[in-house]
């Protein structure tokens, strides 16, 4: 495992926080730019933009499918492992939708179809952003109450914020849309990321002993924690992708990205700031 070779004690705080902060800035710029251009920080999926999603198991190739639905607003045809296909259509009027359903039922009687209207998508969108805001504030409050100390608590909140922003940036780059599933995954990330950060902070601040040893010990535990979670999520991702279960595959991929981002934010950003905080405290 590559990251296990990382030595938490080798670098100065300044070096440790540099990479996460640069990435946070870049991701922030990317999301800000997308938000200015399109109104949303990440390209929305069917749930939020409206449209139709069809899951079907067929040996038809992407080209055949695109040709068959040439008259409809096909957005993308995703191919899983094996015969699973995930076809997305943009919003259409009721008559066109009914005729589409007719064709699908005739051609692929065993298809899963989901359709969301454009304005309803907007409602879902605003509800989801509401959830995200409440979650984040709630998390921040809990952390503040738990540590009652601005630097460590603020650092955990910053790390969680960086987790979400950088993960969202990566989603936008590799083309994972913002949907109900991925929003839930981002919320879940708030919970996950706090786990290892709290471990780190508690170990460094509440245990006695040499800083280097405490940091190395926390790192050992933290890595094994995140690895086990990563393994569980990876298993879920592999099976869901192979079995063409879109919603689980989306949730799993966002969590996977997020956990990697969190490794960086915990052991570089959070550890760096805390180390600096403790070193300065000792000098006084």
């Amino acid at each position: 495992m590559e990251f296990v070779r990382y030595d938490v004690n080798k670098y100065s705080p300044r070096q440790m926080v540099a990479l996460p902060l640069v990435l946070l800035l870049l991701a922030g710029v990317l999301l800000g730019y997308t938000a200015l251009a399109t109104g949303l920080p990440i390209t929305p999926g069917i749930d939020f933009a409206g449209g139709t999603a069809v899951t079907v198991f067929t040996s038809d190739s992407r080209e055949t499918i695109e040709a068959a639905f040439a008259e409809y607003p096909v957005l993308s045809v995703g191919e899983g492992i094996g015969d699973g296909r995930y076809i997305q259509f943009g919003p259409m009027d009721d008559a066109q939708y009914q005729s589409l359903v007719g064709i699908i039922n005739e051609r692929y009687p065993d298809a899963k179809i989901d359709q969301i209207g454009e304005t309803f998508g907007k409602t879902l969108q605003s509800q989801a952003s509401l959830a995200l805001v409440f979650s984040f504030i709630g998390m921040a409050v809990v952390v503040m109450i738990a540590f009652r100390n601005l630097v460590p608590a603020g650092t955990i909140v910053l790390a969680a914020f960086a987790d979400i922003v950088i993960t969202a940036g990566v989603m936008q780059i590799i083309g994972i849309p913002l949907s109900l599933g991925t929003t839930a995954a981002l919320l879940m990330l708030i919970g996950y990321s706090v786990d290892s950060n709290i471990l780190l902070t508690t170990r460094l601040l509440k245990r006695k002993g040499k800083l280097e040893e405490k940091l190395a010990g926390a790192f050992r535990t933290g890595i094994i924690m995140t690895t086990t979670t990563l393994t569980a999520i990876a298993a879920m991702w592999v099976v869901a992708t192979a079995g063409q279960i879109q919603i689980i595959a989306e949730i799993a991929s966002v969590l996977l990205i997020g956990l990697f981002v969190d490794l960086m934010n915990t052991w570089m950003l959070n550890a760096g700031i805390l180390k600096n905080h403790i070193l300065r405290g000792n000098k006084r």
Partner: protein
């Protein structure tokens, strides 16, 4: 593990609690009530995407307005009715339900013209109307003998009024689902001629509007409704020709819905008099006094609409999953869960290389899943997202068992019982904070009506709670008993 260790463990209430909950969950899933034909699924409830079926989400074309007026509310309502050609219902002192999807901008001039102003404007319907919609849909579904129907009213977070209704029908394809919701019955009014013979007067298409149950000055409940011009003419003709105006008691008016008599009563004397001179287009069918009268009026109101909903609805989302595909998804997610558990087991084994740590870890994790499913069986249906939550719980669960293990095994040695308890407490402290944050982070999603991810959030929260309250404390005790040998 020897007999001595097991004895100490069985005496610890934390361990006992876990065992009890696991047994209880298994009983809940498989034995209460027994469900052998379902096999390994037992009594677990599955969502549409695993069971197969269709869902429709519909938005009410209606708004609720809080108003203030210098004039009379009655005039305002009358103006709204004529201008918008729709039903307007007064919910309370200063709230009106306007049964049409009008914008605030379109409403403002009408309010201004009646000397009133809009205080708040929200999309949706009153509780009363929403319940009625739910009842009508229920009636339709029941009439077709469908057992597995779920009808839910949805209120967006931040709004005070239900704005959507979602209907889920297991084992039904989309076309059938739409038919059920859209279907209207055949409503007919007939008049009694001689004996039990009746004669056709008019069909439901001649009824232009149906009011809500209201009480007259005698305390009798009734439902008002109006006819078209042709309808009123036909009604007058039939009343005169059949002799109902002269002898109302011998010539009942009969209302029939889908060949079933739903109402039968004589003409009111006063009305009979009016009909002699001219057609009457606004009538009221009275149902009697007291609660029974009100109940009858409610039912009659639904019948008068012939199964049509009191407000127009628009389908804003829909979907269907064939049963075969649902079955396939079920197998896939079961596989994903098992694989996740196995993978996690391998990773912790790789880290600790000590079966006496790894086996309790995986066993506790498994116990957590069983308990979760046992609780889930009573409160939520398992759908794809919920199962994703379940697998995510496996991930966090192991996470926290690792924290406990590493905390107590500091420097690779098992400490003295005193030191052990101190470290164990500290580990639980870390976990408690982490649990509190996950709980708070998922809470909004769990409380929101609109999110189809409620199950995901609920399972995550439950998982965290069971973990912190039950399984993780027990694990700490088990690992101590095993290692202190």
């Amino acid at each position: 593990m020897n007999g001595e260790t097991i004895k100490t463990l069985v005496k610890d209430w934390r361990v006992v609690l876990v065992l009890l909950l696991v047994v209880g969950s298994l009983v809940g899933i498989y034995l209460a009530p027994p469900n052998p034909e379902k096999g390994i699924e037992g009594n677990l409830q599955f969502g549409l995407d695993l069971e197969g079926g269709s869902w429709l989400q519909m938005e009410f074309q209606s708004v609720v307005v809080a108003f203030s007026t210098d004039g009379s509310a009655g005039d305002l309502m009358e103006d709204l009715r004529t201008d918008l050609e729709t039903e307007v219902i007064r919910i309370d002192e200063n709230h009106l339900e306007i049964r049409k999807g009008v914008t605030q901008t379109d409403l403002e001039p009408i309010f201004a013209q009646s000397g009133a102003s809009i205080v708040t404007y929200q999309k949706g319907v009153s509780e009363f109307t929403a319940d009625e919609v739910k009842r009508i849909l229920n009636e339709k579904v029941n009439a077709l003998g469908m057992q597995d129907a779920r009808i839910n009213l949805l209120t967006p977070t931040g709004s005070d009024y239900p704005q959507y209704v979602r209907i889920e029908l297991a084992g039904v394809d989309m076309a059938t689902a739409q038919e059920i919701v859209g279907q209207q019955g055949l409503f007919e009014i007939r008049v009694q001629t001689t004996g039990n013979e009746t004669e056709h007067v008019l069909y439901g298409d001649q009824i232009t509007s149906v009011g809500v149950p209201q009480r007259d000055y005698d305390g009798r409940w009734g439902v008002g409704f109006s006819f078209t011009e042709t309808g009123a003419e036909a009604f007058r003709e039939a009343a005169i020709e059949s002799g109902a105006v002269d002898n109302p008691d011998a010539h009942h008016l009969v209302m029939i819905l889908d060949n079933e008599t739903v109402y039968s009563a004589p003409l009111d004397r006063g009305l009979a008099g009016q009909l002699r001179s001219a057609p009457v287009s606004s009538l009221s069918a009275s149902t009697g006094t007291g609660d029974a009268g009100l109940d009858d009026a409610m039912t009659l109101q639904i019948h008068l609409r012939a199964g049509a909903l009191p407000v127009q609805v628009e389908i804003v989302g829909s979907g269907s999953v064939p049963a075969a595909l649902g079955e396939q998804f079920k197998t896939t997610v079961a596989l994903a869960g098992l694989l996740a558990l196995l993978a996690v087991g391998i990773v912790v084994y790789y880290r600790y290389r000590e079966p006496s740590i790894v086996i309790p870890m995986v066993a506790i994790n498994l116990a957590e899943i069983v308990i979760l499913l046992g609780i889930a069986r009573f409160i939520i249906q398992l759908d794809l997202a919920t199962i994703a939550g379940l697998i995510a719980v496996v991930g966090t669960g192991i996470d926290q068992l690792v924290i406990i293990t590493d905390e107590v095994l500091h420097e690779g040695r098992v400490p003295s019982p005193n030191l052990y308890m101190k470290r164990y407490g500290r580990a639980l402290g870390i976990i408690a904070i982490a649990a509190a944050t996950v709980f708070i982070a998922m809470l909004p999603l769990a409380l929101m009506d609109l999110s189809t991810l409620r199950g995901f959030a609920v399972v995550t929260i439950l998982g965290v709670l069971i973990g912190i309250l039950v399984t993780r404390p027990a694990y700490g005790k088990i690992i101590m008993a095993i290692l202190s040998k």
